[in-house]
Amino acid sequence: MKITYPHMGYSYIAFKMLINDLGYEPVVPPEPSKRTIDLGARYAPEFACIPYKVLLGTYLETIEMGAEMAISSGGVGPCRAGYYGVMHQKILNELGYDFKVFILEPPQSNYLDFIKKLKVLKPSVMSWRTFIQLIKKGYSKLEAIDEMEFLMYRFMPYEISKGDTARAFKIALDMLDQAQTEDEIEDARWECRKVMAKVPQDRSRDPLKIGIIGEIYVVLEPAVNFYIQKTLGEMGVYTDRSIWLTSYAQKNVVVEGKVGERDIHEMAHPYLNEMIGGHGINSIGEIVIYAKGGYDGVIQLAPFSCIPEIMAKGIVPRVSREEGIPVMTIFIDEQTAAAGVLTRLEAFLDLLQRRREQKTVKERLA
């Protein structure tokens, strides 16, 4: 069977291997483009958010490529994402496609259902042990990909010749793509670190530091967020983002609230101590964490009409004032124009730069 999945940053490399390992034929989703969004927006309800439209567009594109099923994640709590799988299925059926949208809900919402669904995915001849090992292997590849992307944004503001880091990252991704066994992945990870570390850097620079927060999909998919981290990196800004697929999986999917997630919630408590769905409460907590970590500013990315992020945005002015950190919110949908985003980014960087200069002057006087 030909199986596809949503495109989320660079994770497609790991999912491709996993699906292949399980004995299916993976259909690698193309990077979301104008065509993907056009297709999605044409058939999606007008008021659905951009992740919904991009996913629908991706399914339609992969159907053209022969995909018969998509595996995606569900969601719980007050965010519409929980219904999206069902809605996608309905729309695709109405369009006359024989295509299955297979949704994995977070395990803690219903363990029995989760195991039942895994059973469907596990080929009957395969032992549970092998199955779990293959998933673990996929996860370690995912982790390696995350690490390299993380390093790219770390190094970019220091690179001496523009584009070096991005090129090194591309090489690293190819190496990880080639690695198939557990050992090969481990070896490739070491090699990739070396490739990344070879980028000539000027460590005497003191770049502006910006934290990127918000809704998971628009934070993770560069093609949807105007390559915000790369763009900022090229402008010489050091960025850190709050959500990564692997740490995300660790904190949210497996043991909700028990690993790192809890302190994010605790940090948010002076301002918000209620789950408002999606990544709303995280967004608040993460602003506090970035402020305490000495960052110059925070950018909140949110799909237009995303209720959790809108609620968070309502609390942001107070958090920003009391923690002393500027926050800019960018709402994204198919109508958002790149020119407007760039203008805002430029102005925000000017704001942060002047603010920092003033701070230094004040400190010198004191």
């Binding site: 483009s33 000017d350 704001l351 002047r354």
Partner: protein, 320 residues
């Protein structure tokens, strides 16, 4: 020879050119309509400007801002290309001492800038709605057959402004027609429209911002006395309209250009007033390298490509 600094702000509706001296005093100020043709507007502006600049003034730096800032920048040879928000903030803090809030309403966008201790601490621009900007006022004035210059004056005469739904430009118009059909006076409707637009601005662009005095109101719409009065009524304190309110963006661009050149001590990249003699052309093509199908715009000066923009991946940005 005196030193002069050129600032150009090319917006959706107007193209403003100004020349300031070393003390940031405005020597020449020009306000033109862009009319959807920025290249022509810039050339026309430069041409008019060359006749107005005193003979003993030499342009030592040039800066551009506004939505066509990149285009203007490559055309005239700018030393700096700055976003509108920074340009407005810089100019206003120079001319309105201690300013803490800037309300700016232009042709198609409106913004709010919050400053504390002379630096920008927060800002916002309209994202989803252009109700209440200059274009809409323009359109309503012409529908009511009132010259736009008289619009504000008329609003001031009103005793009882009517309440108009200002959330959406289209619905505002139908609501205005409805009020007209009920027989309300033109003055009250016009004043009501100003109040509705102010309400819309404060609820959208100004949402969650701490608006503290001194408040400066600028951009083309600040010429409308009715809008000033409506802002004052709503904010409950005085609203200052700086002398060069309509060209503040251009003034800011000139100041930033002056500072940049003074800092680096380099010779300006300004090509001189001759740019009016060059022929400029824009041609675009669709890049077929990936499904994004970006429309890449090529900018020609005398038949030679001097700039390209529009590709998402940056492949075409460099001109070789």
């Amino acid at each position: 020879m005196r030193k002069g600094y050129l600032g150009i702000d090319v917006g959706s509706v107007s193209t403003n050119l100004i020349v300031i001296d070393e003390q940031d005093e405005v020597l020449v100020s020009l306000y033109l309509r862009t009319q959807g043709q920025p290249i022509r507007a810039i050339q026309e502006g430069i041409k008019q400007l060359s006749g107005l600049v005193p003979d003993d003034v030499e342009i030592c730096a040039a800066g551009t801002t506004g939505s066509a800032r990149h285009l203007a920048g490559v055309m005239v040879g700018a030393d700096i290309i700055k976003n509108e928000i920074t340009a407005h903030a810089i100019a206003t803090s120079r001319f309105v001492p201690g300013v803490q809030t800037i309300l700016e309403i232009g042709g198609q966008d409106s913004k709010i800038i919050i400053l504390r201790d002379g630096i920008v601490t927060d800002f916002a621009m309209n994202t989803v709605c252009a109700a209440g900007t200059g274009s809409f006022l323009d359109q309503q004035a012409s529908r009511l057959v009132i010259p736009i210059e008289k619009f504000g004056e008329m609003a001031l005469k009103s005793q009882h402004p009517v309440r108009i739904a200002g959330r959406c430009a289209v619905f505002a118009e139908s609501d205005m027609i409805h009020k007209q059909q009920l027989g309300h006076s033109m003055e009250d409707i016009v004043a009501g429209l100003c109040e509705a637009l102010v309400r819309n601005y404060l609820n959208n662009v100004g949402k969650g911002k701490e608006i503290l005095p001194p408040v400066s109101f600028q951009g083309g719409v600040a010429a409308n006395a009715g809008m000033k009065k409506a802002f004052e009524k709503s904010l409950q304190h005085e609203v200052i309209i700086p002398k060069h309110f309509a060209v503040m963006g251009a003034v800011g661009a000139a100041i930033i250009a002056r500072e940049a050149v003074e800092q680096t001590n380099e010779k300006t990249r300004f090509k001189g007033f001759e740019v009016t003699d060059f022929s400029y052309q824009t041609r675009s093509f669709e890049c077929k390298s990936c499904p994004n199908r970006c429309e890449v715009v090529q900018f020609f000066q005398n038949g030679e490509v001097i700039a390209r923009w529009g590709s998402r991946c940056g492949k075409w940005d460099k001109v070789s």
